[in-house]
Symmetry: C2
Subunit: 401 residues, 2 copies
């Protein structure tokens, strides 16, 4: 079996953790598997390097930042190879370009164009454990690039896709994907399985487990993912195309309190009003989530929508001129809100999920400000102060105590 294992920065932050990863990798290898390991830079290395750069040049070129940052993984792959070697297993470290990562030239946020796994394959054929530097590649000018946020997850999935790996394991500091945040909801359960789409909705809805880009790539190339802990050696959560949906219809309850609600009150109603509003927001490169448009009265409409909290001010600015010209009664934003979502592919064929969710919220005396839904998700906007109570109530409704 060909297994790709990815370890983040906290999993290799010091010598003890590196040895732990080395033991985990050699266990997999000794079972007879071919093993490719993708590692991020050690714990604080990335922050240290950024601090060094800032000291010299607050607006350093992205090309040079990528050159700098790529040194971080170079250190961690060499150290992990040494650790594995000390356990008596053969290992070899490869930089992004040595492992065949070709990217475009968008420094600091490069997209992978192709992975040529020839060298990795040759090293596996020598029965070596191959350690690959995540997060980095080479563009057509032979310059080092980095993939940006969550890049090492994407590196791992890209290798798994290009080599048709049997499994791509993403090791993190949690044991898997939970029905809710286990630090807050005592009844939260670890899921055995979840579909790619559910995982994407979970991430978008505020669950910080996997980077969306890597899940999208896994879905596209049908790479079976497993999210699991590098510290507790127990099975994690499998992310795959089809799961046994009948076992559990709802996969999780997520909270995103990093949102803001933008509201326009009494905007004179004209054809194309929504287009005019949202094209302006889009021009400011702001992603709009839930949208609520009132039925309207007195020839005006109220429009509300949610955006990431950090973009709230810009969103309002992008609309100020238009709203004043049209004579809207008010335009403002509120960050005192949170979005609660239930996610599950099962709900598209089961009625009553939304109703059950609303009932749970009503019983907990929580006011719903906005509602939105997709085929596999129902989200509501509530007061930020009610957010945790809301997650608890909804989780209890679907998963019990």
């Amino acid at each position: 079996m060909l297994v790709v294992q990815k370890f983040g920065g906290s999993s290799v932050r010091d010598a003890e953790r590196v040895m732990n990863v080395a033991r985990l990798v050699t266990e997999t290898y000794k079972k007879g598997n071919d093993v490719v390991v993708v590692v991020s830079a050690q714990g604080d290395t990335t922050d240290d390097l950024i601090a060094k750069a800032k000291e010299l040049n607050a607006r350093a070129s992205k090309r040079e930042m990528d050159m700098l940052m790529a040194a971080g993984e170079q250190i961690s792959i060499a150290l992990l190879a040494m650790a594995i070697d000390s356990l008596g297993c053969p290992a070899i470290s490869l930089l992004g370009w040595q492992a065949g990562f070709e990217t475009n030239s968008t420094y600091s946020a490069a997209r992978i164009k192709r992975v040529n796994p020839e060298r990795i394959r040759a090293e596996l054929d020598k029965r070596r454990i191959v350690i690959v530097a995540g997060f980095q590649g080479l563009n057509k000018y032979d310059d080092v690039t980095t993939l940006g946020r969550g890049g090492s997850d994407t590196s791992a999935v890209a290798i798994a896709a290009s080599m048709h790996a049997d499994l791509c394991q993403i090791y993190t500091d949690v044991e898997g994907v939970y029905t809710a945040d286990p630090r807050k909801i005592p009844g939260a359960r670890k899921l055995e399985e979840i579909t790619y789409d559910e995982m994407l909705e979970m991430a978008t809805s505020g669950a910080q487990v996997l980077n969306n880009r890597s899940v999208e790539m896994a879905k596209k190339y049908n790479v079976e993912l497993e999210v699991l802990s590098s510290l507790k050696w127990v099975p994690g959560t499998k992310v795959k195309e089809v799961t046994q949906v009948e076992k559990m219809m709802i996969k999780g309850v997520a909270k995103d309190d990093d949102v803001a609600r933008v509201s326009i009150v009494a905007l004179p109603d004209n054809p194309g009003i929504a287009f005019k509003v949202f094209s302006r927001v889009a021009k400011a490169h702001i992603c709009v989530d839930n949208i609520l448009q009132s039925v309207g009265r007195d020839g005006t409409k109220d429009i509300a929508f949610t955006v990431p909290a950090k973009d709230a001010e810009d969103a309002v600015e992008s609309l100020r001129e238009y709203c004043e010209a049209k004579g809207a009664a008010s335009l403002d934003y509120d960050t005192n809100v949170a979005k609660i979502s239930v996610i599950g592919a099962g709900m598209e064929t089961h009625e009553g999920v939304a109703a059950d969710m609303f009932a749970a919220l009503a019983a907990a005396n929580i006011n719903i400000q906005m509602i939105s839904s997709s085929e596999i998700r129902v989200s509501v906007l509530v007061d930020k102060k009610d957010a945790d109570k809301a997650v608890e109530a909804v989780h209890r409704q679907f998963f019990g105590e």
Copy 2:
């Protein structure tokens, strides 16, 4: 003019020093020169990385050590490029392989096979300052190698040789090459010029300024070197093929107190005795320097020679069996000695240098244990306690107060 400038680890050890180097480089660039800069890893980076490796594996493979160590220069080239950019000059950093360094596969002590300066040339043609990672290259397997001790000096000279640079400046923490150690001999003077051969003799005789490998390469390809300080912006010492020897016949007085004298007393005299002794020492991979063989009496000879202090014990061991079998009276070593040398290409055509040296030592009441000489060097072995006094006396003889 094409200038190659090399900066060691202490010259770029922190942000302040990096900015200092950036200013120095941009000054050279603004005069209209093409500038290629070679940098080592920052101050303690190398030691930090070695410590990290040792924690995991005391006998890490050299390939992985090279992968690890090469990250050090990757960090410093990116930082220097950022610093130069912040001063308004265009700069680009290149790793060893990007700069065209092809080496053999002796990890941790690789030899440069070829430098293909195509990429450097292309970047210079864009009027960019090119920052190259010293100390590293790539072997035929596309694996990262490092050049070993003094590697960055060699990198700089190799670039200068392959591009026919007009000058290769080696920046260090001293202002140039001195007639003696300026920290100990107040009358020591900075030399304007010195020949390659003299420089090589100086280094071999204990003056730690330039790595011999880089001087040998500079001599072979006739690269004009300059040794100078990155902190005091004053002219340094030029190292070149021919200097104005008449200006100063003797170039310097050097002390090497890291030596030992090995002595064999009353070894029965047979044909081939010297061969038998020194072939045994050579087999132990020990370099022998001065050799003294007594004229002999009673059919025996005394043989003495010097070796690096660290090798003294091994040298004695390599001879013990042979000396016992032959019935030599004694075999032992003494590290309580120092080698004092005067160096200068002029002395081959001037008689009396050795005589003047011996006179100075006699006047200072210093006993000479052994004498050796080359065309451009005379060395004597003295008691270690007399070493500094000997340097002072000899230096005064040739250079005055």
